[in-house]
Symmetry: C2
Subunit: 384 residues, 2 copies
Amino acid sequence: MTDRLRQRLSRRGFLQTASGTIAAASAASFPFEPAAAQVPDIKLPAPPGKQVGFALVGLGSLAINQLMPAFARSQKAKLVGFVSGRPEKAKQLAQLYNVDPKNIYTYDTYERIADNPAIDVIYVVLPNSMHAEYTIRALKAGKHVLCEKPMANTPQECEQMIAAAKAANRKLMVGYRVRYEPYNQALIAYARETAEAGPTRMILAEAGFNIGNPNQWRLKKQMAGGGSLMDIGVYALNAARYLSGEEPVAVNAVMHSTPNDPRFAEVEENINFQLRFPGGIIANCGSSYGVNINRHRVLKPRGSAELDPASSYTGLRMRVIRGGAIEERILPQRDHFAAEMDHFAGCVLDNTEPLTPGEEGLKDMKVIMAIYEAARSGRTVTLA
Amino acid sequence: MTDRLRQRLSRRGFLQTASGTIAAASAASFPFEPAAAQVPDIKLPAPPGKQVGFALVGLGSLAINQLMPAFARSQKAKLVGFVSGRPEKAKQLAQLYNVDPKNIYTYDTYERIADNPAIDVIYVVLPNSMHAEYTIRALKAGKHVLCEKPMANTPQECEQMIAAAKAANRKLMVGYRVRYEPYNQALIAYARETAEAGPTRMILAEAGFNIGNPNQWRLKKQMAGGGSLMDIGVYALNAARYLSGEEPVAVNAVMHSTPNDPRFAEVEENINFQLRFPGGIIANCGSSYGVNINRHRVLKPRGSAELDPASSYTGLRMRVIRGGAIEERILPQRDHFAAEMDHFAGCVLDNTEPLTPGEEGLKDMKVIMAIYEAARSGRTVTLA
């Protein structure tokens, strides 16, 4: 080693850099000897700031498998209570998630949450037909409400929910979780906000899965309000709306259910629909309880971009296509439910409006009704 | 080296194996010394059997860039003649492809092909509005006809072409090239012939490209018969039909062209359509002269398969999706046009019916008319 090199390395060893003295020292010692084992202190998460207390209403699969674990990844939302018709189940889950048994309610004692200052937000995770009632009762009890999609079974119910929020001066948000995760946000930016590849001309969006147990509430017309369109096709509809940034003015649809399949005795299996937007974008959308599909594609004159899967809980992927080249865009994967709950908790703390308020659910519900009417009538249904 | 090892290697050097003595000797010599350079004789292509003489009518981009080179990859089809309104162009191309100048015709001398025994097949590669006339004239001259898609501008013309073939006792085929290449054949097998993943429930098919020069014949209503649907969307329609193996019974459609875009003064840019098949499959299809898209997807209860691209001249790709796993199926890439011409040459030689006869073109044309009617009327159009 020359003196000159030795001098330079020695100087490096004492440089103060942005990454701090530990990194600089280990870089300097590397050529001479193994560095002494240095385990840097792991930075602890910051102690929570003000957190918003959430109570879950309805302890089904989504609540247990997705929402409860998501609180651990949330900054501002804290799981503090349950409302359930099955007290034993609620008690067991309360032990698991360290929920105070005082904060467990039944559907009969639901109104008493008004007197519980630990609960700020009610997250309604019930069958669709119960969304309106349990949202309105929570709002009347002075609580903010995050309601799962679809918002309700009819536009009229949605309007009543919005009116109840206004009357109570409380916040109301619909749980359109993919609006809060990076992949759909990136596709929105591609479709609406960047000049990349020219203006959006066509949107393709499909959402479907092969539904299991024929006895579940999703397959009962009275509880679900409809079939695949209400539960899963609403993702494709919502995507066509948020990717175009417009409201559709005309709708076509075709519907089919496999004959004699016990799952589809009351509700539709497949319903495909076409949307025309005022700026000229046309969208082809698919909805299914029979096949697995999960994709959003935005088409422009000089390129396209696709999410596939587009609305799964995890593992979303994005491809951008241009000039015959396909590029995958790797983005941070976020827990959709944690992101959604954090957003609403922030709205409550800061008194701001959510990105997907009740009005957003109402807009989807009006189009859903038009899609069903188009499929039944065999006519293009126009929307005001 | 032990005596035992030396003995084994020596024995291997004289073993006669299925791969022959050269392979055995080089395997044996490898550990000891470089093998002497041995260039095996390259097997020459077999001398052609009976070949069918093709004359191209219309020397545009498809004929020059795709069809002429494809003859070199064809076994049974031989390029022997041209019919063109531009004799200088035809003469130059004849030199390039070793076509006898005696076999060059103009549109005025077209009927004289009747007296030319070197020409068995006329391949019609003209603008759509000329397909019927030049097909019928060739049939009357006693020639078999391969006609590019779309078969003609109207179902009536298609019927006249079919009648002319019957009257002349000659063969008539429509150039649906992707029916003759391995990827679409594999997707048909997945959709219709295998039990893999259950029966097909939904088909998605889109075909489109961002069309260039606003002055080309494809954008003139009179010559093209229509816009993107006639030229490129017909691939999506044809795919929905061959993937389902059925004829659609009902059609919805929505159409849009970018206002003030000079390319779309006469014909449509985008037209998306929905098909209902009698067995219950529903298809969502897209057609565009504004965006690049090229995909066929078949959806089943327990899996799906996709070609993307699906109808490009080269580079098709197939993905099969099941249980969250995505597998790419690599298949032989064939020249679509060589495969298509070989098929028709075989039909002529063996007196068999082509896979895509005139009747196939007529079926597409009837659905195309229904799609336009559905888009114009805003109603579901039913087909007999």
